[in-house]
Symmetry: C2
Subunit: 171 residues, 2 copies
């Protein structure tokens, strides 16, 4: 399949927003999605964007109501051991367009941006039960740091973050 | 103990660099640290810094060769479900200054910045065997997403990132 990978623009946010929800449904947590198309436009396409995004599109003859069939959304992070790095937040290809190497093309393009921007690392999160994704990244040479080094992801949100910010520690 | 928490400046990088190495020794991976004091100065204290940092300092009468005894280094990330969020990369207090609530004060101050900057979440990584840290964050209300949702951290670096960037996918 002839696939074109290009940086997303503001007008892609409608497609990206739709695919974010499709991915959340696949990950069995659709009720977690609070972000809107307008917020993506505001957060990703001003002067100091909070993220960058690539989209994958296929020519019209292969499309099924959509030209844009996948996306990769990433941003820059920092390692106090290695320096500037990249986090790949989402990599998604619509189910009916899987098996044509579009996910691989998106991942390669993200890695190229990471190298251009002198990132030492490219990291991402995968769900334990998602063996298709885990096998895909492992086959490409990724290390699973949760398995190999015992790294856990820990999070404060909602009330726990509020409590933390309002707490006055005893000195 | 009377502790002062303040934003780091460029001149703090020598202390931060020293404490990054102390933390890596504690985490049993000191050979992983490649970052230098000069790189921290360049990466954290230009116009669009890659990270922000708070330091904890104690008055001279309590110091043991150091006035700066702890730090918290963080940066902004993005959730496609919740929007702008914060990642706490390192939280460290020198061993001889632990037990006085300095770590809690640093964490509270980081959470306050997160709220001011309208971050929906504050996240971090902990090592499986570091039960002191895991218990500390759990007691503050954090969720362990590796345990609760099966989230794994996966990473490309060095040769695997190079290979990914150089690969030309078959279409």
């Amino acid at each position: 399949m002839n696939v074109n990978i290009r940086p997303a623009t503001r007008v892609d946010c409608k497609d990206i927003s739709r695919m974010i929800m499709e991915l959340a449904v696949y990950e069995k947590m659709p009720d977690q999605v609070k972000i809107t198309c307008e917020e993506l436009e505001r957060d990703g396409f001003h002067q100091n964007p909070f993220f960058e995004c690539l989209v994958a599109e296929v020519p019209e003859e292969n499309k099924d109501d959509f030209t844009t069939v996948g996306f990769a959304l990433y941003f820059y992070i920092y390692s106090t051991w290695k320096g500037r790095s990249m986090h790949l937040e989402d990599l998604y290809v619509m189910p009916q367009f899987r098996g044509f190497g579009i996910g691989k093309s998106l991942l390669n393009a993200v890695a190229q941006v990471a190298k251009e921007k002198r990132c030492a690392r490219l990291q991402l999160n995968v769900l334990d039960w998602n063996t298709a994704s885990r096998d895909f990244y492992a086959a490409k040479g990724a290390q699973d740091l949760t398995v190999e080094e015992g790294r856990h992801l820990v999070r404060f949100d909602g009330q726990s973050l509020e409590n933390l910010a309002n707490e006055t520690p005893k000195n």
